[in-house]
Amino acid sequence: MIIALIYASIFVIAFIAVRLVSRLMTARKDFTSLKTVTFGDESAVSPDRAATVISVLGIFLIWGAFTGSAIAPIHVPGPFIGDTSFTYTARNPDGQRDRADVAIRVHVVGEDVEAPELAGGDEGFAKNDSAKVAAWRSGLVRVRRNDEGGREDGYEVVQVNGQSIAPGESVAVDDGTVSMTAKGTLSFEPEKGWQMEKIWLPAPEDVWSRLVEIASDGYRNFTLIEHLGWSLIRVIAGFALGSLVGIPLGYAMGLSNFFRGWFDPIVEFMRPVPPLALIPLVIIWFGIDETGKIILLFLAALWIMTIASRAGVSGVNITKIHAAYSLGASKWQIMRHVIVPNSLPEIFTGARVAMGVCWGTVVAAELVAAEKGAGQMIVAASKFQLTDIVIMGIILIGIIGYGIDILMRRAERFLVPWKGRS
């Protein structure tokens, strides 16, 4: 909630700043700047690179600020670390009261520290205590244990820092809260601050160093390259098989009544079934090894490619076909020189979608069952609460998916430059 508000305010501030700066700096003199109608003209909208940079920096800033990272110049308040103290007042069965001090040392999780030493000078039946508590945790402080008569019935702790306390109640003290359990034991919970604990969200540099470590040492018997490479190989194999079958099938459906009639119900039925829903069945039929995964990805790519190439064939302008016939082309030549090239843009669009779907599907399938792969890596890490590996895996999956899409777009521009130009 707070994070969403901070994000929204960064957005608003950046929006105003970028607009001001660009109004001051640039008097652009290109065609777009001369257009008077820009609202609603899609071609006049191009991504503002300053906004892009601020957006990415903003995400890292928030991430860093909430994890106490070194890369963030400002941090939200962290958990209390250090020594603090409070006092308690006990009452013995005789109705006498005595006060004693409790010294608390709050330390970083996993660090080995000693509880603070007690200063001398301690009269009365309640004796001073000391305890250590890890940040973000809470710890019981058994103050009665060393008190004279502290184990007798009727001996009670009645006040903390002079405020009365009863089982189930709590009292705010310096740097934390003291509460009393149902059995009358005190428990100290230090201030948590706003920062996230490492097992919830590690700092960016922790993720980075984990990446460096895994890139050189590997994780669970496979190197990072192997994990990611296997996922990629599965995607490419499944996509290639799906295209190999789907594209000819789509052509056949676009060119022949019989094929159209025969495969229409199958394709239309399979199209809305998400590939993820097939995972259980594929595992039952083919097991969890490579065959099963590649068949799953094949099915994920198949329908998309079939529909794309069918649309590519149906989309051919009839005047082009007529023109080719009057120029003396045979059916086969029309197929090769008109129908296929004319359908390539559609097929490329389909291929981009299919690669995206396959990449998502392979990760999901590896989450369910695999020995290696990007998805397997993060699900294995999550079982040991290695959140830094999980986050690193998610980021890598995102980067690779984005990279695939960029590559496909490049290839498209290079191979079918006539897309959208007819």
Binding site: N317, T319, H322, S326, L327, R421
Partner: protein, 268 residues
């Protein structure tokens, strides 16, 4: 017989709702080879249908079409076609578009290259050989379409409003080009147009068609096409008889349009 024979051709489209459209009724016509004929008529009178039947894209419901003595049964390279737009292949550059016909016939590259170069020069596109067709203007694209059709050396060239999508100035230049190509190549050309002026300039013979059912209404033989070859077309328009014929045809087509409107109103 030499030339194109259209013998008692009728075309009737059965509509899904059970009614039908008589797009052509008993059209008979002989076109000698080398003739330049323009076809005019109100929208929907069956001009495109007529051309599609000659091209072989449609089989008439009655009658037959013969070219040089053999019956037309489908599209073939002896009958070339130039469309209004959108018929060029975007995935080929200008040169490959023009070379499409020859390469379909498996003509050697070395042989077709000469033809292509010559034609591109004739239509004035020698400097655009390697350009993609989508980089050309509409008028240039139509010149590519003309050259592509000619590269196949067809006997008959069929044009369905080939200049309809061009601006007035480009259009006038292209009209001159069509005349020039007609004279240079001696091809039979049938050209459909919506512009009466264009029909007058680009027709040795001018056919006016009437709708519902589609039929030949009147035919003219005109001197303007011959005069226009290599001449200033605006001068031709000042010739004796030009404006009189134009007015006569315009009135004729207006009357037909009004009749259609009237009929449509009484039908309602």
């Amino acid at each position: 017989m030499d030339g194109l024979v259209i013998d008692d051709v009728s075309m009737r489209f059965e509509l899904p709702n059970g009614s039908h459209v008589q797009a052509l009724q008993n059209v008979s016509l002989n076109i000698a080879s080398g003739e330049l004929m323009s076809v005019l008529g109100p929208s929907g009178c069956g001009k495109t249908t007529f051309l599609n039947i000659i091209a072989g894209f449609l089989a008439p419901t009655a009658g037959k079409v013969e070219l040089n003595g053999s019956a037309v049964s489908g599209p073939a390279s002896e009958r070339g076609m130039v469309f209004q737009q959108g018929a060029l292949f975007e995935w080929m550059n200008v040169r490959d578009n023009v070379a499409f016909g020859p390469s379909m016939k498996k003509m050697a590259k070395s042989e077709s290259a000469g033809i292509v170069d010559h034609l591109l020069e004739t239509v004035g596109l020698q400097d655009f050989k390697d350009k993609a067709v989508y980089e050309l203007s509409g008028g240039m694209q139509q010149r590519v379409a003309l050259a592509r059709c000619l590269a196949n050396d067809p006997d008959v060239i069929l044009m369905d409003e080939p200049l309809g999508a061009l601006d007035a100035l480009t259009r006038e230049k292209m009209q001159g080009l069509v005349l020039k190509l007609w004279k240079e190549t001696g091809k039979t050309i049938i050209l459909i147009t919506h512009s009466v002026e264009e029909a007058l300039l680009l027709g040795e013979r001018l056919l006016v068609m009437a709708p519902r059912p589609g039929r030949i209404h009147k035919e003219y033989r005109l001197p303007f096409a011959d005069m226009g070859v290599g001449a200033d077309l605006r001068e031709v328009k000042k010739m004796d008889g030009y404006s009189e014929t134009r007015e006569e045809i315009l009135t004729m087509i207006w009357d037909m349009e009004e009749e259609i409107m009237g009929r449509a109103e009484t039908e309602q």
